[in-house]
């Protein structure tokens, strides 16, 4: 059975993909990409989820003793942190490209940027 959070992640990914492939406006394409990223992050976190367990943070509520049985799998959470940082960098770079493109042609329609082809 697919977990509800996983399902949300997948729906976000598909929404983002649809957005990327159908919107012509470059900013919207970037937003689509960002939505995909968020969806992936949610999905990755959900893969580490174990029912009735808490966040993998070793504070006094969890305690060091037997922590492995009380928390969810910490690895996906750790991975997501890295993935979020990378996603941020990529989005920022995309946006700066958008700025550069706009300054050249005063348009953000992706159809206007097809001078290189064949």
């Amino acid at each position: 059975m697919i977990h509800a959070v996983t399902a949300t992640g997948i729906i976000l990914i598909l929404t983002g993909l649809w957005c990327m492939l159908t919107r012509k406006h470059i900013i919207r394409i970037i937003i689509g990409f960002s939505i995909i990223d968020t969806g992936i992050h949610i999905m990755i976190v959900s893969t580490g989820y174990i029912r009735n367990r808490t966040a993998p943070i070793l504070d006094h509520a969890v305690g060091l003793q037997g922590a492995a049985d009380k928390v969810v799998d910490p690895v996906p959470s750790a991975l997501v942190l890295t993935a979020i940082v990378i996603g941020l960098a990529v989005t920022a770079l995309m946006l700066s490209y958008a700025v550069k493109l706009y300054r050249r042609k005063r348009t953000l329609d992706i159809n206007n940027y097809a001078e290189l082809k064949w």
Partner: protein, 1039 residues
């Protein structure tokens, strides 16, 4: 050994140090930058050498954890091999980029260093998520660096790249997440221990996404439009890093994941590689922009490397050495060549490939470009050649013949567009020039030297142990270095080099090999003397000439299949260089290269098919198995293409006629015999073991007969003296093949006898005409005439050559025809006998035409003062004339050794009684025939001499036009369109049907390419859609 962590530490530390040092001064920042990259390359070399020396592989676990929780870096021999290559080429590319980087702020340098960190991390890492991180590091720095030219094209290309790259990362991340969910680990070594974890539904999908993402990063056809835009718009230095080091790192990740894949996955992945290889090459043929063309070529090469390693895995090969030999060799070849070519495109600047003639005035750059083209085409001695041989051999051994065919087809297309480009570069058309830039030239020279060093390394690790073969490329390079010397000095040196090769090689040969050795080496040597007749530097002749002669020697000496093919390809390359220099148009060398390579590929396919099962690379020629038939027929077909039989003769007239006047004779008389030598070597190897040989010999006979007929027929309509002789050579090759097809003692003796005499008389005729042409500076026969008065010696030798050619008694030609007709009639092939006889009759027409138009008739006013041809042209002619005279007087001297070399075949032997040779159908005494003919000749001669006073000389203006006003001046000349009246009877046979056929085929291929490239619409969103569709289709295939 130094821990692999330091490889990453060096570059990351530099990322922080460079901006600090840059505050002090630009040069400090640059110094730190270069020092870091050089250190990385040095570390790579150090590791590679120590691991090769037997040091154990290293595994490093970072942060105190052990696997699977820690970041693990592995450094084995394979890793160190890739590390040393990619860091070296990165260093060279950074030097090329120096001029551009120095204008940027310090963060351009840090981006470069991050890129290198990503590349090295990808190679070392053993963990999927770490690979993701390093891949993103590489991608993000690349996205940013693509924008470096700061123009609209670069920005839009960079953005498209980001969309596609972003999608690929997305899939990689999703795949990684699900791999973790299914297998509970992302650690490669743990995954490899239980690959079945990933064979279920979710596990498969997870692995699929990871692989698909990697494949997208490797730019598979057709989901790669974004990459092409980047190749076209980015700075060539940056692009060269993307396509060499960046691609190399991703390829290595794919290599690491290979053991996880199922058979089905491997098959589809291999197929994707092949499709990419073939179609990227196909689309490239319509490309004019050098950056984009190199992009297509890079992508195709990447596809080939993918296919290489995937198929090896599919065949269950585990030895790293085999992967290094195939995928490693292909990659290394691509790495240095593509680096070199992109950097060269930086030097040449924004010119379409048609305008690369600017290189023609720059010998070093042209040499580097030529080297790159040759290496990229998979020609020897470069690593690509050895790697392709090994790869194709494994494909054949495992029965993957269609894949083999596709690779050869793709390679042929590649040869076409690369050599077309080289043709543009070699022909200087404008006085435009490019300014010197040592910062770009030095890395190119370094790449070329590394490539050559790697060639030695690869050729050593494989099988060519025959030292002579190594000398072929070495001799070429040596004579390239001697180019500044005067032409005559080089001729003497070339004669010495070739002569010593002959002296060393010939005593070791026996039988047919010895006969062909004397023909090829001796024939070339004698004709090389003519080179002394031309002054000047004569650049570009002797590297090719000496390489060709050494290849002849190599062909005859080698005992291995690989060695034979090596020498054969070197010979093709050498002769290409000769025609490239001499030709007036770019078309002739290109046609020659395409047909020769096509023929060579047929031979290659045959050779590897005939290799005995489980053979090493050093399988001997004698071990080849021809019992399947196919292999043998492929090889023979290859030699027939090289011989220029009718149907594939398109390259022939230009090739034999357009080279320099002292080179054409060698090509037409000696080089043409190499195909004959190959034919005989393999026919005697396979004799009796090939099924269906009766049918084979009938087909071969008709091919020979028709070639003789059409070659002769086309010769009579030529206006150009050298072209006429070229077509005549085609006809003579037809006789040789016809005689060879008889498979009997007399037939083979006849074939080799004709080959020898053809060598002699065609050498004479080409040299004689060459001597005339070099004085008159025209090859049009109607512009000549009366040369008998100005060049009596040339006329005399030419006449003797002509009599030998025509096959009338008493000269050697008669013996050839006598043997041929005897053998044909003895076999009962009456139709072919008639065809051969008819062709000989037609040959009289062109013999008459050429001697009449060139030597007889009126002497033109402008040529009244021309002198006899250079004595250096006459010496080889007289040597050949003497040989013809001796062999005509005493045919036994020639026929007996030949029939001894041929040995015992089917049919009756030739019997000797004194100077009389006889067989079942008749006898011939050459000495008597000579005397009788001489006697018959003397009677009218004496009569004519006695009446010499009453001769009325025809004057120049004794001709009237019967009131017709000529529309073009040459139409008034009797020698123009000499055989116009015969076109009514025979003209329909000489319509250029063959040319139309090949042009049509070319047109079709070109149209397909033109249609295919419209896939690349230029729209970033379309490219994203193509990526999605590609992944979907890939999933359906792999499922």
């Amino acid at each position: 050994m130094v821990s692999p962590v330091y490889l990453l530490v060096v570059t990351i530390a530099a990322v922080f140090l460079v901006p600090l040092a840059d505050r002090i001064g630009r040069s400090y920042g640059m110094s730190v930058f270069y020092a870091a990259i050089a250190a990385a390359a040095g570390l790579g070399l150090f590791w590679f050498l120590s691991l090769r020396g037997g040091a154990p592989a290293q595994n490093v676990f970072i942060a105190g954890f052990t696997g699977p929780y820690a970041i693990q870096l592995q450094l084995g021999i394979a890793e160190s091999f890739v590390i040393v290559l990619v860091n070296t080429v990165f260093l060279l590319a950074s030097i090329v980029l120096g001029g551009a980087l120095i204008k940027e702020k310090a963060y351009a340098l840090t981006l470069m260093l991050l890129m290198l960190t990503g590349i090295n991390g990808l190679v070392l890492s053993r963990d999927l998520f770490n690979m993701f991180v390093f891949m993103e590091l590489l991608s993000i720095s690349t996205y940013a660096l693509v924008a470096m030219p700061r123009n609209g094209q670069a920005f839009s290309a960079g953005f498209k790249y980001m969309i596609a790259g972003g999608l690929a990362s997305t899939f990689f991340l999703i795949g990684t997440a699900f791999v973790y969910r299914t297998a509970g680990t992302l650690h490669l070594d743990y995954l490899l221990r239980s690959p079945e974890l990933l064979h279920g539904g979710v596990g498969f999908a997870a692995l699929f996404l990871v692989i698909a993402a990697l494949l997208i990063e490797l730019k598979p056809f057709p989901a790669n439009g974004w990459a092409l835009d980047v190749y076209q718009a980015g700075h060539p230095g940056v692009v060269s890093i993307i396509t060499t080091a960046g691609t190399g790192a991703v390829l290595f990740v794919l290599y690491k994941l290979l053991p996880l894949m199922s058979v089905r996955m491997l098959q589809v992945l291999g197929g994707a590689g092949i499709v990419t290889f073939v179609f990227s090459n196909l689309v490239a043929i319509k490309q004019e922009n050098p950056g984009r063309l190199l992009g297509y070529s890079s992508i195709s090469q990447t596809g080939l490397v993918i296919a290489g390693m995937v198929f090896l895995r599919l065949f269950g090969i585990r030895e790293i050495a085999v992967y290094a030999a195939v995928a490693g060799g292909l990659f290394l070849n691509h790495l240095f060549v593509k680096g070199l070519m992109f950097w060269l495109s930086e030097r040449v600047g924004p010119r379409p490939i048609r305008e690369w003639g600017v290189l023609a005035g720059k010998p070093l750059l042209l040499f580097l470009f030529g080297l790159a083209v040759v290496a990229l085409s998979g020609l020897p001695p470069f690593p690509g050649f050895w790697a392709k041989w090994e790869f194709l051999k494994l494909l054949a051994a495992n029965g993957y013949y269609p894949v083999l065919g596709f690779i050869l087809a793709g390679s042929l297309i590649e040869v076409f567009y690369l050599f077309r480009w080289l043709g543009y570069a070699a022909v200087k058309e404008d006085h435009d020039t490019i300014s010197p830039a040592p910062a770009v030239t030095l890395p190119m020279v370094a790449a070329a030297i590394l490539l050559l060093a790697a060639s030695v390394f690869f050729s050593g690790s494989l099988s060519v142990r025959e030292p002579l073969l190594r000398l072929i490329p070495a001799a070429g390079i040596l004579f390239y270095l001697l180019e500044p010397l005067p032409g005559r000095v080089k001729t003497v040196l070339a004669l010495a080099a070739s002569g010593s090769a002959a002296v060393i090689v010939l005593p070791g040969l026996s039988g047919l090999h010895l006969v062909f050795g004397i023909m090829l080496l001796g024939g070339s040597l004698v004709q090389m003397i003519a080179g002394l007749g031309s002054g000047g530097r004569r650049r570009g002749i002797y590297p090719g000439m000496v390489m060709m002669v050494y290849s002849f020697a190599g062909l005859l000496v080698t005992e291995t299949a690989l060695g034979f093919f090596f020498a054969w390809e070197m010979m093709t390359l050498a002769s290409y260089l000769l025609i490239l220099r001499g030709s007036r148009s770019a078309r002739t060398p290109l046609l020659y290269m395409i047909f020769s390579t096509g023929g060579a590929f047929l031979i290659l396919a045959g050779l590897i098919t005939a290799l005995p099962a489980g053979s090493l690379s050093s399988a001997g020629l004698g071990d080849l198995v021809f019992s399947g038939g196919t292999a043998f027929y492929l090889i023979i077909a290859g030699f027939l293409v090289k011989a220029g039989v009718v149907g594939v003769h398109l390259w022939l007239p230009g090739f034999y006629s357009e080279a320099d006047h002292d080179v054409s004779p060698i090509l037409s008389s000696a080089l043409s015999k190499a195909a004959v030598a190959g034919l005989f070597i393999f026919m005697s190897l396979a004799n009796g073991t090939v099924p269906g040989s009766d049918m084979f010999s009938v087909i071969l006979g008709w091919i020979g007969g028709l070639t003789a007929f059409f070659g002769t027929l086309m010769a009579i309509y030529q206006e150009d003296a050298k072209r006429l002789l070229a077509f005549s050579s085609m006809g003579q090759m037809g006789y040789i093949i016809l005689a060879a097809s008889l498979m009997s003692t007399i037939g083979w003796t006849a074939a080799i006898y004709i080959a020898v005499t053809h060598l002699l008389f065609k050498g004479i005729m080409f040299l004689s005409v060459g001597g005339v042409v070099s004085r008159l500076n025209t090859t049009n026969m109607y512009e000549m005439g009366g040369m008998i008065k100005r060049m009596p010696l040339s006329f005399m030798t030419f006449l003797i050559g002509l009599i030998a050619l025509s096959g009338v008694p008493p000269l050697t030609g008669f013996g050839g025809k006598w043997l041929l007709y005897s053998a044909l009639v003895g076999k009962g092939w009456y139709m072919l006998t008639a065809l051969a006889l008819f062709s000989s009759a037609v040959a009289f027409l062109y013999c008459y035409r050429i001697i009449h138009s060139v030597f007889l008739g009126q002497l033109k006013t402008g040529f009244r003062a021309v002198k006899e041809a250079s004595v250096w042209y006459l010496i080889p002619q007289f040597i050949f004339v003497m040989l013809i005279m001796i062999f005509s007087m005493v045919p036994r001297l020639l026929i007996e050794p030949i029939s001894a070399a041929v040995g015992k075949l089917a049919g009756p032997d030739l019997l000797w009684q004194g100077n009389t040779v006889s067989h079942a159908l008749g006898y011939w005494n050459g000495t008597t025939v000579m005397m009788v003919t001489m006697g018959v000749f003397m009677v009218p001669l004496v009569w004519l001499l006695s009446r010499v006073r009453s001769i009325q000389k025809v004057k120049q203006f004794n001709i009237v036009y019967a009131a017709e006003r000529p529309d073009r001046p040459e139409t008034t000349h009797y020698a123009h369109n000499f055989f116009a009246h015969y076109t009514k009877a025979l003209g329909f046979l000489s319509l250029p049907l063959v040319r139309r056929f090949w042009e049509g085929a070319g047109e079709w291929i070109s149209s397909i390419a033109a249609a295919l490239r419209h896939l690349y619409s230029g729209n970033g969103q379309t490219y994203a859609l193509q990526v999605m569709l590609y992944i979907t289709v890939l999933y359906l295939f792999m499922r």
